[in-house]
Symmetry: C2
Subunit: 223 residues, 2 copies
């Protein structure tokens, strides 16, 4: 029997690459998409297309979770602007404790379906400086899961972040080698109403540089 | 200025005691109640009465979060029975990753309101054997928060579990000394439709033994 893995799947470039990687390794993927009131909820719509491509749309779990309580974040609070330039320190697009919350929900879901692994597409090279994308966070979270969940205590439950030390260029090259269709992915924090990417937010900027360095044209439409 | 603290507040015996303790220490409490589709949602109604007593009902945050996805748990899945006797190992009332998820949400909330502390009423003495009530889990979670949140990295964010090594008798004695009105608290996992406690589930059992050992009559109505 294939080993089950929960994949935190936003439909973005990174998580689409992680999904392809899990499939290439012969794992049995259970994508978990969390809708949290984010500005760029177009990514959730887009995410379905990637899952359909792999024939696992029926396997997807979408969880609605209202984080508008965390109103200091510009991805959630539409009265705040998304920065168009890199900033010093942790930017306003930081969603308080987002990956901590997402991984915790993924842990509960993994326990429910008896999956021994969770995969997440965080990256600490070409990234926005969020603390919850770094290796030390993933390591500490793994210790927490191994002491604080039934699955972690009685069997094994491990979070893997396979892209964490890769550049965006390397992630795109990996994805291309695995056949990822990046035209189905979405990265922009602040897309236009018709779903086109802004091209200037931190997420677009990192994506565009990655494609350029990889010598590949980004298939997305930009404003 | 008083120091802000987020208190995970279910309205049960333990969290009501933690709230009274925080107030007695001169902290500025922000109670966070999470409604997750649990069988005993009467506790949420009851919790408001304790907050009204302290004049902080307007300060309360109630967050709805549907965990029915985690259907293996008998507190959530009403097709399963709540065990009336202690069991070997972790019982079916274990909610997958509950305290991990709750503390993660509390961390995001604490970051949003600039609170440097989270308090939770978990207890590893008179308890049901849940892994997420033990000191090693709280310690690992604290390491996770200090590496993986903006507040933890830039300032300080600490989870305190002041009851974790106390017996239920000691918790009740502490609460009585602080003036907690235990008639406003609720512990039963499987209350009757009119809100009375069953008296036989693990939670009722531990509560009743605690009151007995403390030499105090439990003010609640039992079936």
């Amino acid at each position: 029997m294939k080993k089950r893995v929960v994949i935190l799947f936003s439909g973005g470039l990174d998580s689409a690459t992680v999904l392809a990687l899990a499939i290439s390794r012969g794992l049995d993927p259970y994508p978990l998409t969390i809708v949290y009131g984010q500005r760029h909820s177009v990514e959730v719509e887009r995410s379905k297309q990637t899952l359909m491509k792999y024939g696992i749309a029926d396997r997807a779990t979408v969880m609605e979770f209202d984080l508008t309580l965390f109103s200091k974040c510009s991805l959630i609070n539409r009265d705040l602007d998304v920065p168009a330039q890199p900033v010093n320190g942790i930017p306003s697009t930081y969603v308080p404790s987002r990956n901590l919350i997402f991984l915790s929900i993924a842990a509960g879901f993994a326990e429910t379906i008896d999956a021994g692994k969770i995969m997440i597409g965080v990256n600490a090279v070409d990234y926005s400086g969020y603390p919850d994308c770094r290796p030390e966070f993933i390591e500490a979270f793994n210790r927490t899961v191994s002491t604080g969940t039934k699955m972690g205590v009685e069997k094994s439950l491990v979070v893997e972040a396979p892209l964490i030390k890769m550049s965006k260029k390397e992630i795109i090259q990996l994805g291309m080698s695995l056949g990822v269709d990046y035209s189905l992915t979405h990265s922009c924090y602040d897309p236009s109403p018709d779903g086109r990417s802004c091209g200037v937010c931190d997420s677009c900027r990192l994506r565009l540089i990655g494609f350029k360095q990889a010598g590949i044209k980004d298939p997305l439409d930009y404003l």
